[in-house]
């Protein structure tokens, strides 16, 4: 499937910002089962400096500095991306205990190495209660993916999707106790549970197609940025995208923007501005199929 992705991010400040630095992770890149045909970023006001590069995890990064006093910052993304559906993950594969031991023994420090995704990270502490919740899905000897998929479904069943129930500063233990949240909370909870068991889990930020295909239900998170999880199931099986918000495998409807240990690594816009008073953020996203052929 080929999509046109449009995102407009608008920051409105209560007073003029005289100088600002931002880090943007808004341009999708080629990934397994994803090809980027074109992508462009439009920033107002015009940055005094703009450079492109990659972060540690290989995500495309744009660094900008703004030196013109401004009270509105607008970042527009336009991209055309082709996505393949995921194949069936295969029911077998390694046991979760084996996956854990493999991950502990990795001798690779590259961006996709499972070693990076085993530990507590900035926004994902390891919490004994979340670990115990996850452990139910991992009886001895169960294949890694089977356990992860069951955990994903339990999160969908046990938690209420509710915009506004949590904020960006809500921690996974807090949203776990509330049993509610949005995509980011569910991803963080699932990651925390898996890592608590010693299993590699990564955070993915990206998009869902806005209007579902005929006869398919509309997915949660389709009109905003979305987040889901990738789990590692051993060398042969590799990484798999699991979307606990919708209890589906990440497939033809998921466009990947950035991958990291948690939201802090993959956040689409980071910035440091000195401003008195409040700032307001609005994000508008559309993901429209261009055609199903050609993909």
């Amino acid at each position: 499937m080929i999509y046109d992705v449009r995102q407009v991010t608008t920051y409105t400040y209560a007073s003029k910002v005289s100088y600002a630095h931002h880090v943007l992770r808004l341009i999708p890149i080629d990934r397994p089962r994803q090809r980027v045909h074109a992508a462009a970023l439009d920033i107002v006001p015009l940055p005094v400096e703009r450079r492109e590069g990659s972060d540690f995890f290989g995500n495309r990064v744009t660094w900008i500095s703004l030196d013109h006093p401004h009270d509105v910052l607008i970042v527009k993304v336009a991209a055309r991306v082709a996505v393949d559906g995921a194949g069936e993950p295969g029911a077998g594969g390694e046991s979760w205990e084996r996956v854990r031991d493999l991950a502990f023994a990795v001798t690779d420090l590259g961006p996709r190495s499972p070693a990076h995704f085993l530990f507590a990270s900035r926004q994902v502490p390891l919490d004994p209660e979340i670990r115990d919740y996850a452990a139910t899905s991992f009886p001895a000897g169960r294949p890694m993916l089977a356990g992860a998929i069951e955990l994903m479904r339990r999160i969908k069943d046990d938690f209420v999707y509710q915009v506004g129930a949590t904020t960006v500063s809500t921690t996974p233990p807090m949203s776990f106790a509330l049993r509610r949240g949005v995509c980011q909370d569910f991803a963080h909870i699932m990651i925390s549970g898996l890592r608590g068991l010693g299993l590699p889990a990564a955070y993915v930020s990206g998009y869902l197609r806005t209007i579902p295909p005929p006869d398919a239900p509309r997915l949660e998170g389709a009109d905003a940025m979305h987040a889901w999880v990738m789990v590692w199931a051993g060398w042969e099986s590799g990484w798999h995208g699991l979307d606990p918000t919708n209890a589906i495998l990440a497939g033809e409807d998921h466009v990947v923007l950035a991958v990291g240990r948690d939201y802090a690594d993959a956040s689409p816009v980071d910035g440091v501005v000195f401003v008195s008073g409040r700032q307001k953020l609005s994000v508008a996203v559309t993901v429209t199929p261009v055609s199903a052929s050609n993909s």
Partner: protein
């Protein structure tokens, strides 16, 4: 502890004066001063002989002198657990640790090897990562380390190194050999404290210090200073010491080292990153810095690419490092090699990375992320110390970083064993080490106590240089394993007697002094702002005290004639929010008590004094220590409870004492601060505030009708009675009083005098506007001063005074806009690079 001495068994030459006659090493434990047969080791004998020769009374006098030095220089240590953020006095143990010169040389060589090893590990993990690829370091051990800062991977640091200052904690085991207990590479503390300890002790014991030919510390600091300064490519750029600020436990040391080394003490908000580098926000505009000595944890150093929650860092600093625009010492990410888990791999890495085995072993450590180590450790669990593999608290033990296996109850034990079986990657096991002891003076005698020795290495032009001394932390308990100043304990100096004459033996006090030329004009805006406000708050406190004193005088001679003065001054205090507005006028003592004591009123004295002290605390490096002490004394005297009974007299005494302290503060600032730009901001604050309060006194007391006594009260408030009486042999009359208090440029309390001084200062400050034009603050001051100069005393009315007061408030804002807030122009016209 009993220490039954039997000095008769010992040769007299050991300890000719019987100074340590009652001292006995603990059984089975190595003692630095005495061997197992209670013979004093040779390298301690000269100290005991010199010290013993002084006699007990003189020793006590000398030790007290050292304590006084430390107290007077303001050494302190902030205690995190103290809810009040308290500072504790420096816990100094007077007996130094003596290290034999030959032994120190071998330690030195081993530590240089270790510094090279750690640098090589950092260069690899932030570079090609061969150690992981070749299976010499597990990837999980690197990836799980919170100080593995991914934004720095692939960045070769400018200057070619990650480590510039390296501290290492060592302890001596029962067999007499040294062990490395831990490495400090993040932002090593203690070098400045070592220097302070040395200054205190060498001044207290100059004879012993000379006799033993103790190696000096100055050369070490000079080498470090020289090396860092040489990294700047532009002459005009300044080396900065980046501190997290006064709430940090070792802030005193940051300020002390910055002053000693001639580096500029800055906080994150003093710096800004632009396309071509890192700049200091100063009152003269942006000034480049190419070298930052970092005392801020790396994760907090850049909210943009590291911890976004940090309010202490500098946005864009990682980018500046990537671009090679700045050297950070130690480099961002250097804290990686502090992780305990690494200790288990360093012995095997040493031969490959340094060409030989570790000369000084580190404490035996097993990382439990590997099955073989895990199984091995589980068989000896009770003898092992279980710790966090990296830096966090031990999982499941929120307050502890380590536990001893054998001390756990069955439930704790089961929990930790299960946690290790799930996530062994989070744990290390270490062999317990029994530390050696050194003598500590306790209750008039000496007793052995375990200690940890911290040694310092600095990168210099020709390689690592080792500080010939160090920083000792001594445990309070006999069997303490972990020694931390946060948990109590004391510190001591470390003496390495030289085998050769040391340089500068005749100029002891100067031997530790580096002559530094401080560039002028690089006053950070934040420091200027704080100096300005310290002075304003102190002046406001003084004005409040003077009002209170006038009231008290009237209370003591209460009659009907004083009523108008009491009413007007009480009204002024209400207008200032120094007292609540519902107090009965008939009870001025209540008004006085409120103004002196109410902590909830923002115009009352405690608020001004606290505000002055807190503004001063962040710029302590710029204050004469005595001026700082005056502020502390002022806060103490205001906070002290009043004695019951005779409140008026007690209050009167207190007001006078507080005014005397303020006078001494002002005098110290005037006499002991270099009259550079910082002093000008301090004086500007004082002059502006004094002019404002004098205007308010005049408006309240002397611009309408003049009931009995109000003009006398005004003269009293303006401290001008004596001048007035000398000039006019008559009762206070409106015109001459107003002339003296408002217009007379020769009266140091008049408004005109303050404005005159303000103009002088503004003319010397860096210009912030186009060539030939007056700066915005100057424009305001000039208009004000012409108005005052062209007005006759008889014409002075409420309107003129009110206009002057408004101008002063606008002037304060204009100074803030021009020098403190640093809103750069949008056309990018900040100061050209260096």
């Amino acid at each position: 502890m009993a220490m039954v001495g039997d000095s008769a068994e010992r040769p007299a030459s050991d300890d000719p004066f019987g100074l340590v006659a009652g001292y006995s090493p603990l059984p089975g434990i190595f003692d630095e001063m005495m061997d197992a047969d209670r013979r004093v080791r040779p390298h301690w004998r000269p100290l005991l002989a010199t010290l013993g020769g002084l006699g007990p009374e003189e020793i006590n006098r000398r030790f007290a002198a050292a304590d006084r030095h430390l107290r007077d220089s303001g050494v302190f240590y902030r205690v995190y657990e103290d809810p009040a953020g308290g500072e504790r006095p420096w816990p100094f143990s007077h007996m130094p640790l003596i290290l034999d010169a030959a032994e120190f040389r071998s330690l030195q060589a081993g530590l240089i090897q270790r510094a090279d090893l750690l640098e090589a590990v950092l260069a690899d993990v932030y570079g090609p990562a061969n150690l992981v690829r070749d299976g010499r370091l597990p990837a999980a051990l690197v990836a799980g380390n919170p100080e593995f800062l991914r934004p720095l991977v692939g960045v070769t640091p400018r200057g070619g190194a990650h480590l510039w200052l390296y501290a290492v904690d060592v302890g001596r085991g029962a067999d007499g050999g040294w062990w490395v207990l831990g490495d400090r590479t993040q932002a090593p503390s203690g070098a400045g404290y070592a220097l302070e300890n040395r200054l205190a002790l060498s001044r207290a014991l100059p004879d012993a210090y000379r006799e033993l030919r103790v190696e000096r510390l100055a050369a070490f600091f000079q080498a470090f200073q020289h090396e860092l300064s040489s990294l700047s490519r532009r002459d005009a750029s300044r080396v900065c010491l980046l501190t997290p600020g006064p709430m940090n436990e070792t802030y005193f040391e940051h300020a002390y080292l910055a002053r000693y080394l001639g580096f500029l003490l800055v906080e994150g908000e003093d710096l800004t990153v632009r396309q071509d580098g890192v700049f200091i926000r100063t009152v003269s505009g942006l000034r480049r810095s190419e070298v930052l000595v970092r005392r801020l944890d790396a994760d907090f150093a850049d909210p943009l690419e590291l911890n976004a929650r940090s309010r202490l860092g500098v946005a864009g600093l990682v980018q500046a490092v990537r671009d090679g625009n700045v050297v950070i010492a130690n480099g961002l990410g250097a804290g990686f090699v502090e992780a305990r888990a690494l200790l288990s791999y360093l012995p095997a890495l040493a031969p490959m990375l340094t060409g030989s085995d570790l000369a000084i072993p580190n404490i035996a450590t097993w990382w439990l992320g590997q099955a073989a180590a895990r199984d091995n450790v589980m068989t000896r669990f009770d003898q092992m110390v279980i710790g966090s593999a990296f830096f966090e608290a031990l999982p499941g033990h929120h307050d502890a970083r380590e536990v001893v296996g054998g001390t756990l109850d069955p439930a704790q034990r089961a929990r930790i064993v299960e946690a290790i079986s799930h996530r062994g990657v989070d744990f290390v096991a270490q062999e317990a080490v029994t530390l050696s002891t050194m003598p500590v003076a306790l209750d008039g005698t000496f007793a052995p106590r375990p200690f940890i020795l911290r040694l310092f290495l600095a990168r210099a032009a020709d390689g690592w240089t080792v500080m010939p001394g160090g920083f000792v932390r001594i445990a309070d308990d006999i069997d303490a394993r972990a020694v931390s100043l946060q948990r109590g304990g004391r510190t001591a100096d470390v003496w390495v007697p030289s085998e050769h004459p040391v340089a500068d033996t005749t100029l002891l006090p100067r031997a530790e002094t580096i002559v530094v030329n401080r560039a002028t004009g690089a006053l950070p805006s934040r420091a200027a702002n704080n100096l300005f406000w310290v002075a304003r708050y102190v002046e406001r406190a003084e004005a409040t005290l003077r009002l209170v004193r006038v009231l008290l005088n009237r209370v003591m001679e209460a009659d009907d004639a004083t009523a108008p003065v009491v009413a007007r001054i009480s009204a002024l205090l209400v207008a200032w929010s120094a007292v609540p507005n519902d107090l009965p006028n008939a009870r001025p003592t209540l008004t006085v008590l409120a103004a002196m004591q109410r902590r909830d009123l923002e115009g009352a004295l405690p608020h001004h004094v606290d505000a002055a002290r807190s503004a001063a605390s962040v710029i302590r490096d710029r204050f004469p220590p005595d001026a700082w002490r005056a502020l502390v004394d002022l806060a103490d005297i205001i906070a002290a409870p009043l004695p019951a009974g005779a409140p008026d007299i007690a209050l009167f005494d207190r007001v006078n004492a507080a005014l005397r302290i303020i006078a001494s503060f002002s005098g110290l600032a005037q006499e002991n601060m270099s009259q550079l730009i910082g002093w000008r901001f301090l004086d500007l604050g004082r002059r502006i505030e004094r002019a404002i309060v004098t205007c308010r006194f005049v408006r309240r007391l002397a611009t309408d009708v003049f009931p009995d006594g109000v003009l006398d009260a005004l003269l009293e408030l303006a401290d001008s009675q004596i001048t007035y009486r000398r000039r006019y042999v008559m009762l206070a009359a409106p015109t001459p009083v107003i002339d003296l208090v408002v217009l007379d440029p020769a009266n140091p309390r008049s408004v005109a005098f303050q404005v005159d001084r303000i103009e002088t200062h503004l003319a010397v400050l860096p210009r912030q506007s186009a060539e030939g034009r007056l700066s915005p603050p100057q424009q305001i001051a000039t208009v004000m001063s012409s108005a005052l100069r062209t007005t006759e005393a008889a014409q002075v009315d409420d309107q003129l005074i009110a206009e002057t007061e408004r101008s002063l408030l606008r002037l304060s804002e204009a100074i803030a806009a021009a020098y403190f807030t640093q809103h750069e122009p949008s056309d990018g016209k900040w100061e050209a690079p260096g």
